[in-house]
């Protein structure tokens, strides 16, 4: 075999900045995903705002929508718990981590149930479906897109909770749990926008 020239011969002289530290790839990857998802949400939000009051037939948002205050409080406070799950894992307090994760999953599930009840009410009592009018089309797609993200987050959080209960989560996983918490914070932040657009401005 001939000697292979490798770039490892390159440092000839001159100091290299030490320590050479680059960001954790999970965080950057999640930031990219959040950027892409934000663009998707923006398109749905723009469609919602563009079509406010343009439905040719009823029902209108003012007639059927109620402020989901309870669900909103549950979802937004779950952000606090997932944050503390990460910090307690970093401090190797596994019991606190499990408890905080369980609280997050519980609050997320409560939020999802309030959305489900709202949809049940709208479909069965008010007769509003995605076909009914522009309000129905934009409402179900925007709120449904958010709910889909909640479901995905809940699946991942529940898996983490299961691992945590089985005692399989250690301090070295805290970076990864932080990535998941970033996603959950994003889902919460999107809800703030959806809440304002659909339930405050849209009504």
């Amino acid at each position: 075999m001939t000697t292979v020239t490798t770039a490892s011969r390159i440092p000839i002289d001159g100091p290299i900045e030490t320590p050479w530290k680059l960001p954790y790839r999970g965080n950057i990857g999640m930031a990219c995903l959040i950027l892409a998802e934000s663009a998707i949400f923006i398109i749905f939000v723009v469609a919602y705002i563009y079509y406010i009051g343009k439905s040719l037939s009823g029902p209108t948002p003012a007639q059927v929508l109620e402020l989901p205050i309870f669900g909103t409080i549950c979802l937004l406070s779950s952000s606090f718990f997932v944050h503390h799950a990460v910090t307690s894992l970093r401090k190797e307090n596994f019991r606190a981590c499990t408890l905080h994760l369980a609280a997050t999953v519980l609050l997320g599930t409560i939020f999802l149930i309030t959305t489900a009840r709202e949809w049940y009410h709208l479909i069965h009592d008010e007769g509003l479906t995605i076909k009914t009018n522009l309000f129905g089309s934009t409402y179900y797609s925007l709120v449904g897109l958010h709910a889909t993200h909640v479901v995905v987050g809940l699946i991942m959080l529940s898996l983490t909770l299961a691992f945590s209960l089985a005692g399989k989560i250690k301090e070295e996983h805290s970076e990864k749990l932080e990535v998941l918490s970033l996603y959950w914070h994003f889902v919460d932040a999107v809800w703030v926008v959806v809440f304002l657009v659909v339930y405050v401005i849209g009504r």
């Binding site: 990219c32 892409a36 079509y51």
Partner: protein, 560 residues
């Protein structure tokens, strides 16, 4: 000690060659190596290049003489829909992502992408999307009613895509294929950004990174904010078609203009998603063949980032004729014209790099000179079209078709071909034939100018696009015949390229690890690079690490 892992990696690569074909195929299907995935992207895109090119030839045969009945109007609609969709989503994006996949880790001194399995997933979902689109030929009206491809144009304007105007499932195949290709693109873009930010080798600060990764970074950023809206719009269209929603249903108060906005919010930045990698190839090839360092590196980076941002505010110049009103039109006229400033900076920097250089006219450099010249002309007709009154006259005419093909073929494809000749030795370890390369260049150059120079004229004479035939005696006949002849020349050139690639793989002369005497990290490893690329993670001190290695008496790092 230093070479052992390299030798092991080479042994690993060589082991593949003795294995039965089934195992080799299995290895390719399950690979997560960025180089193999990059190559699969390129091969898959080349197949679609030939398919979509064939569709273009069929269209040009149909239009070569007046009153032609070679294909029916329905088939013609399918041809231009499939040609446009395939070229953008299943040729352009995959081939550029393939090049990025192959080159970015090598150029930043990384051993693989940040998320290798996501990388494989992105490739396979894109490949599946392409197959799904072409399956519509058989599946869209049931297996026994072949020939039912989408026929709504690659822009799929509402309400043409509503159930009333597009019965059957052809439009659904289009929607799903584009949606899935969007998922794949976002995955790959995410991977490229993360790789560039988190996997650079020691000493490679952002300010020392080669320009190719820089431009891929900007391009991937654009993918997030441009492809995602299209993906969202495809979901809305699918909801309209399957669940009876009313987003683009004008009968229920929905808006067709909103679809245009959503589509062009994707559609215009998409041009820059495609052209930024083309700039990236030029940035690597032109300095090496001019034997000079890139002129104005910081200006090039700044111009690329500026293009990325400005390109997000120009989408409605595709919509001057829909009646946005003077305020809207004026804004988009100026936004569009502003983008020529960073683009001009780039052209001047390339010229300044060539200026006074010791120019070597090898095949890659020939293609890059073609790229520079044609990109300039495309920019000039672009400025013409960005003036709203001029655009009103020529909207939806062949002038527009000629303009954007000048960008897409004259700039992007020329740069891409140059990149093929430049990096082929690295990928295969063999040189591509110079004679065949020159044949390819001249055939393609003549064909390109015959087709797209002459296509401007029927546009100015009032020939609309998307018509399947026309009356004789309008002054379009001869011009269209010449355009058709040019298309045949281009096809011949492309076939020479494909032949050259296959022929050189078996018969080409050995390339060695650095045939062009280049300066970036990918030329420091053997050709083809072993798995995991680098025996030891490299350390760099300047923008041209191999120059420092070859000229220890005058290293670049002294000047930075």
């Amino acid at each position: 000690m230093t070479t052992t892992p390299v030798l092991e990696a080479i042994d690993e690569t060589l082991e593949t060659q003795g294995k039965p074909p089934v195992n080799v195929i299995y290895e390719w299907l399950t690979t997560v190596d960025h180089k193999k995935i990059g190559l699969m992207y390129i091969v898959y895109a080349l197949i679609f290049l030939v398919v979509a090119g064939f569709e273009a030839i069929l269209m040009r045969i149909q239009l070569a003489i007046p009153n032609n009945h070679f294909v029916s109007p329905q088939v013609f609609n399918q041809l231009f829909t499939m040609h446009g969709t395939t070229m953008v989503f299943f040729m352009g994006m995959p081939i550029l992502f393939g090049m990025g996949n192959y080159l970015v880790p090598l150029m930043i001194g990384a051993r693989d992408m940040a998320f290798p399995r996501l990388n494989a997933f992105s490739f396979w979902i894109s490949a599946f999307a392409g197959i799904l689109l072409y399956f519509s030929y058989f599946g869209a009206s049931g297996l026994y009613a072949a020939g039912s491809a989408p026929d709504v144009g690659w822009f799929a304007y509402a309400p043409l895509t509503s159930k009333v105007f597009s019965p059957g499932h052809s439009t659904d195949y289009w929607t799903l294929a584009v949606f899935l290709s969007g998922v794949g693109s976002i995955g790959t873009a995410l991977n490229i950004v993360t790789t560039i930010i988190c996997m650079r080798c020691k000493g490679m600060k952002m300010s020392r990174m080669p320009l190719l990764p820089w431009l891929y970074l900007v391009m991937s950023g654009l993918v997030f904010v441009a492809v995602s809206p299209l993906t969202a719009a495809q979901v809305m269209l699918t909801l309209d078609r399957y669940l009876g929603a009313h987003f683009f249903d004008t009968q229920a108060g929905g808006s067709a203009i909103l679809w245009m906005h959503f589509f062009w919010i994707f559609g215009h930045p998409e041009v820059y998603v495609l052209v930024l990698p083309a700039f990236a190839f030029a940035n690597e090839v032109i300095p090496v063949f001019s034997r000079k360092a890139m002129f104005g590196y910081p200006a090039m980076v700044a111009a690329s980032v500026a293009i990325g941002f400005i390109s997000l505010s120009v989408w409605a110049h595709h919509m001057f004729t829909v009646g946005m009103g003077p305020a809207g039109n004026t804004f988009f006229v100026f936004a569009t014209m502003v983008i020529s400033v960073p683009t001009g900076i780039k052209i001047f920097n390339w010229l300044a790099t060539i200026w006074g250089g010791k120019i070597i006219f090898a095949v890659p450099m020939m293609f890059m000179v073609g790229f520079l010249f044609q990109f300039l002309i495309a920019g000039l007709t672009g400025i013409m079209l960005s003036a709203a009154p001029f655009d009103w006259q020529l909207s939806a005419s062949y002038f527009v078709v000629a303009h954007f093909h000048y960008v897409l073929v004259g700039a992007i494809v020329f740069s891409l071909f140059g990149a093929f000749y430049y990096w082929y030795p690295k990928v295969t370890g063999k040189m591509m034939s110079d004679t065949l390369g020159k044949w390819h260049f001249w055939l393609f150059l003549i064909g390109f100018h015959l087709t797209f120079d002459f296509m401007h004229v029927p546009g100015l004479l009032g020939m609309p696009r998307r018509i399947y035939t026309y009356e004789a005696g309008r002054g379009w006949d001869t011009l269209n015949f010449i355009v058709g002849v040019g298309a045949i020349f281009q096809a011949a050139g492309t076939l020479v390229l494909v032949y050259n690639m296959i022929h050189s793989y078996y018969k080409g002369k050995e390339a060695g690890h650095d045939p062009w005497d280049a300066w970036t990290l990918e030329w420091s490893v053997p050709s083809p690079p072993p798995s995991y690329n680098f025996a030891i993670e490299p350390t760099v001190n300047s923008r041209r690490p191999l120059w420092d290695l070859k000229h220890p008496e005058d290293p670049d790092s002294d000047y930075e």
